[in-house]
Point group: C3
């Protein structure tokens, strides 16, 4: 295996798949600080749908905590499923990941699909570990609602 900065190695792929799995277990398991720790110190989570930007460990922890506590208060356990990832090299120790994210929600009444999102990540390698420098999530439901409005107005 070559290790030129233009390669995504098999080791990189394994580490990034595990990063996403660890994020899911952390946020869904109530470990908001652990989820935030998968971002760089200046890491950013952006949801254009909710006009939300959380930057840095404190804001990221609050965001993750609210997300999980809010669901539990509604009687729902969320589960994040990230998959269909395509990794491309941006520069030395900087990758772009395009992925799909399905969030499942389960209550005492049963399980359902809560949300479908497309995720755009910029990952940075810091001290040998891949972390999220920025994540932008695009909500399919919001996109379809905007599309419906645009078509009505046209």
């Amino acid at each position: 295996m070559s290790e030129s900065p233009t390669d995504v190695t098999l080791q990189d792929r394994a580490e990034i798949a595990e990063l996403f799995a660890r994020q899911a277990h952390a946020i869904d398991g109530g470990d908001a600080a652990g989820w935030a720790a998968t971002f760089t110190d200046d890491g950013r989570f952006v949801s254009p749908t909710y006009k939300l930007t959380a930057t840095g460990p404190a804001e990221l922890t609050t965001f993750a905590d609210n997300s999980n506590s809010g669901a539990l208060a509604r009687g729902e356990q969320l589960r994040h499923y990230m998959s269909q990832t395509v990794i491309t090299v941006v520069g030395p120790d900087v990758f772009r990941v395009d992925g799909y994210l399905i969030i499942m929600a389960t209550s005492s009444g049963g399980a359902r699909v809560d949300r479908s999102l497309v995720v755009l990540d910029e990952l940075h390698r810091v001290d040998g570990a891949w972390l999220v420098h920025s994540r932008t999530v695009f909500n399919d439901q919001a996109a379809m609602a905007a599309r419906a409005v645009a078509q009505e107005e046209s």
Copy 2:
């Protein structure tokens, strides 16, 4: 790692996982020609349920375009999730892949499971890249409907 023609290498696995992810992003993102380009020149997509066979870039592009445009016209964004892949060697540069495919559909009203399919692929390595030579998709809903009819008649 041995590289005998009877092995599926880790590199093969990574390339094939990315092939499937790229297909999802292409077909769901409206890049029908990009989706068709993941098939060999004589590549074939077969849906026994819809009695559909699309062969070659032009037919494959039309199929992908219709699938995506049709969904958007109904107000739905489709997302293809391929997973649970088992790869076996058929011959030199020819692999068989058995996988599961869930298609999610999201409208302005929410997200739902649209379809569950089992996928049977034959992949060929052409100029060093894995491409789909043939894909047959088996629709669980159609199978269960056929089973119900068979039981009624028996």
Copy 3:
């Protein structure tokens, strides 16, 4: 790649991903004995929700057979989707896997999410192959129902 007992190698990751995929195809395809054969001879499947423990090939085969036959008798095809796996080393030839499991159910009327579970596996390497020594599945719906009762009583 180092091969110290404290490492999860890329080869291990690939073999374990394929183990889980093979399990899904086996149990959903009616190959109950094939599913049971992915466990060690003293392998154990535990569902606290259903107060069920199946140990050894005969009980595991019966469990898998009942699960699949029961679904088909209700007119449903189940599909098991394991993902978001985090693998940690317990000792030489012993790994722990934390994963998410979604079960989809499709009838002649359509597809839906049946169940969301968290899976805790202990895998053993036996004669060079990873097998499940113990699997415990935690049902999100049961957990949310128990939570609701606890809150009512408090």
